[in-house]
Amino acid sequence: MINKKLFFKIMGSLLFIEAGLLLLSLIVGLLYHDEEYMSFVYSILTAAGIASIMKFYGRNAENRMSRHDGYIVVSVAWVLFSLIGMLPYLLSGYITNVSMAFFETMSGFTSTGATILDNIEEGTHALLFWRSMTQWIGGLGIVFFTIAILPIFGLGEVKLFAAEATGPARSKLHPRISTTAKRIWAVYIGLTLSCAGFLMLGGVSLYDSLCHAMTCTATGGFSTYQDSVAHFHSTYVEYVLTIFMFVSSINFSLIYFGIFQKHFKRFITDTELKWFICIILGATGICMYCLYSDHYQEPLSFEESFRQAIFQVVSLITTTGYASADYCLWPHITWSVLCAVMFMGSCAGSTAGGFKIIRVVMLTKNAYNEFKHILHPNAVLPIRVNNFVISNSVKSTLLAFFFIYFATTMVATIIYTFMGLSFSEAIGVSLSCISNVGPSFGRFGPAFSWSHLSDAATWLSSFLMLLGRLEIFSVLIMLTPHFWRRR
């Protein structure tokens, strides 16, 4: 059965890392002379204490990890991280309700960006920095972060990587996973720092630049202001964020090969990227037309309608969830476009969530093949992505994933409707959670927070966010009786 000692050993190491990250936030708080910082001290002590106990229990663990262990470690790690991560909010009294504090932390780690806060500006520097950092760490994955910095897992790394990595194509950059992880993180850190640099050039303060850069490259969407990016009233900032949201939702291995290995050809010929760009341009075109033409109450200027359209489209397709305008006030036709875009998400292997463009590509080609198949029953019709034929096993996993993704969204929508949300809100909220986007429609649009969700609905949303972030299978597999049956 489960290798308990190894499990506790890994959890212990993970919690030590979280304690370290909390310490970093505490230091930021002290630098900015926060009045309230004891909440962080207590959280760090709690995390370190639990970590020590787990480490002690897991000493002399046998270094043997099964596939089962991999899935359990990853799923439990995310929940545990959120449980510890919500302590600063609760202890400081910033959020008083446990379900809401957990929601806020889970929304952070899964880089969703939905918030229940109506008073963001009241948070201390340390709290808001921690809030942004949860997204940054969660962007590429908690366990992936650990693989990069700690050589603790031995041979289990591969199984953990498989359980946490997203998308059907898990390309390695280097034969060793830990080296692969380091290189991906180097790309990530580079993106974040350059984003912060560009924001500072636009006159944003160092603190706000860092916090926004972290949530932008993580495609998370937390802001340090209640009215999100609209707060800056800056065209420059909006364009910078649009570009960085876009870049962070391209497959990171592609960026690595493009920048460090000078394989520009791969960049240009990548099928997924081509589709991604086309979808963004198409959706932006529709929204822009609606904003520019008479459909809108007060038509905007050409530049402004372009800027608002592309910002909202990129923000939602990359599952970031920043808002520079309230799209709930836009013509209804844009809603359906934005909803579709939210569902699709971005490229696999990036920090973004959603269904992933590569799956959309494969599904489309598969459906198209079915038409040919009817006329030519014996034809061999492979699905090719980047000139590689997709095998049948990948195809059946894809179809199963599509079904489960769809079914989960449906069930969640029904439950939300029971809980008193309107139909469009329910669809919006469940899609937003499972795609890790953030804002939704109606009372949950970019102009409002999610604070009026009931406790039960809050827990359900937290669960959906975790499901979406770990691509459903990794979590749901633990709910199957088959998983726990003795082998």
Partner: protein, 448 residues
């Protein structure tokens, strides 16, 4: 070290696993993605789905910057082509698996080196050597010579007739024994024993000793009734059989039984210089025929057909007819454990032998000679002690060697001697170390 392995067959896979545990950067190339998927999702290496003999594919896989290229596809010509391409691209060292004995001769070595193939490996030859070692002394499961051959390590299965059972080694040692027990394999467990452990029936015990004391160990183990092997029967006239027949000492008489008549004729041609070999046409599974060929008078029976099941069953039948030493070729790695539990004397697997041999060549030059004991999950290695090495500074008992490691013996100026706690190791000694699998890197520093 960056290592590219071409061919994800049994040898390639086994090797990739061994090396990825050593934390090397492994790229495993094969055009069959089903094979790659299986290994890539379980181990820390990079599967590369492309043909290893394509120049473009090798470029993409980064062979140009690799330290080592190992070609182990089933086809020898292809392996050599792959190696030539790899060294042309700039790979530092190449190894090719081949099936032809001619290529191994010294005078051709330079020729292959010029073509870009630095090293050749011929599993059949390695297997033949292993078989001869096993057959030479029928009561011994495993036999390994150190350096000049004065010091030997042997593995012996304990039966109830042994005299040294159930006594702690400490008490046995009081009589100043001429051997050293380096490891005990009991069930699935391998024990590096200390003075309080004792030997139980059915243990596989590894002794380190001088050659002249082997009869004494035999007596202590109660193995006197095992006759010396003078007559060997081999079923299956494969290439290994030919190599084995060519390698056995002249005093042994070999009977090879082969089913295919054309192959029989070919065998007689191949073995024309070896009058001690007789080729018989017949089915190795036919008991009557084996009786006619006097199986009961043979001391050793070696089954080398292509079929692992046949080999295992034939060995069991031979055991039943009173042959004391049986050797089976088992190519299916999953069967090895099962075959061992059925009490077949020695099991030969070409793939693990080949992988082990390549692995051994990769280890630092400090290790002169190494053998992996698949059955016992342990390694024996021979080190030469360098000037001012850590190991020369203290007596053996004060060295604080890691757990799971024991020093079996040493060869000083050509004479083998055993090592105990009071031994002082000197510069230039050849030291034999016995350790559990994967610990060899930890020991190297003592000799550097």
């Amino acid at each position: 070290m960056k290592i590219v392995i071409a061919g994800a067959g049994a040898v390639g896979t086994h090797l990739a696993l061994l090396l990825s545990k050593e934390k090397q950067d492994i790229i495993l190339m094969d055009e069959d993605d089903v094979k790659l998927d299986k290994i890539g999702s379980n181990f820390d290496l990079m599967p590369w789905h492309d043909s290893p003999s394509s120049i473009q594919a090798q470029k993409n896989a980064g062979v140009a910057t690799a330290d080592l290229f190992i070609a182990v596809t089933p086809d020898e010509a292809r392996n050599m082509t792959c190696c030539m391409i790899a060294s042309n691209l700039g790979c530092k060292k190449t190894v090719a698996r081949i099936d032809n004995f001619e290529y191994m001769t010294d005078k051709n070595r330079e020729f292959f080196r010029q073509m870009g193939i630095d090293s050749l490996i011929y599993p059949e030859m390695l297997a033949a050597k292993e078989i001869v070692d096993a057959v030479r002394m029928s009561w011994i499961r495993q036999w390994w010579e150190v350096g000049s051959g004065d010091l030997v390590m042997i593995g012996v299965k304990m039966r109830n007739t042994a005299k040294i059972l159930n006594t702690p080694l400490k008490e046995l040692g009081a009589q100043k024994l001429p051997y050293h027990v380096v490891a005990i394999k009991r069930g699935d467990e391998t024990i590096i024993p200390n003075g309080f452990d004792s030997i139980l029936p059915l243990d596989l015990v590894y002794f380190m000793s001088n050659r002249k004391h082997i009869p004494f160990i035999r007596q202590e183990c109660g193995k006197e009734e095992y006759p010396d092997v003078k007559n060997v029967m081999i079923i299956g006239g494969s290439r290994i059989a030919v190599r084995t027949a060519k390698t056995v000492p002249d005093y042994m008489r070999v009977t090879i039984i082969e089913q295919d008549e054309a192959r029989c004729n070919r065998l007689t041609e191949l073995l024309i210089d070896h009058p001690n070999v007789m080729v018989v046409h017949g089915d190795g599974r036919d008991m009557n025929m084996l009786e006619e060929e006097h199986i009961r008078t043979k001391e050793a029976f070696v089954a080398l057909t292509d079929n692992a099941e046949t080999n295992i069953l034939a060995c069991l039948a031979a055991k039943g007819m009173g042959v004391s030493k049986t050797v089976a070729l088992v190519e299916n790695i999953d069967y090895i454990k099962m075959a061992e539990s059925m009490d077949i004397g020695t099991i030969i697997n070409k793939k693990t032998i080949a992988a082990g041999c390549i692995y051994q060549r990769l280890l630092d030059a400090d290790v002169d000679n190494m053998k992996s004991l698949d059955m016992a999950k342990a390694d024996v290695a021979e080190f030469t002690v360098n000037h001012n090495a850590k190991i020369t500074r203290k007596l053996v008992k004060d060295l604080g060697l890691p757990k799971g490691v024991t020093i079996g013996g040493l060869v000083r100026k050509g004479t083998g001697m055993l090592v105990n706690g009071m031994t002082q190791i000197e510069e230039g000694d050849h030291v034999v170390v016995f350790c559990l699998s994967g610990m060899i890197k930890k020991i190297e520093k003592y000799f550097g």
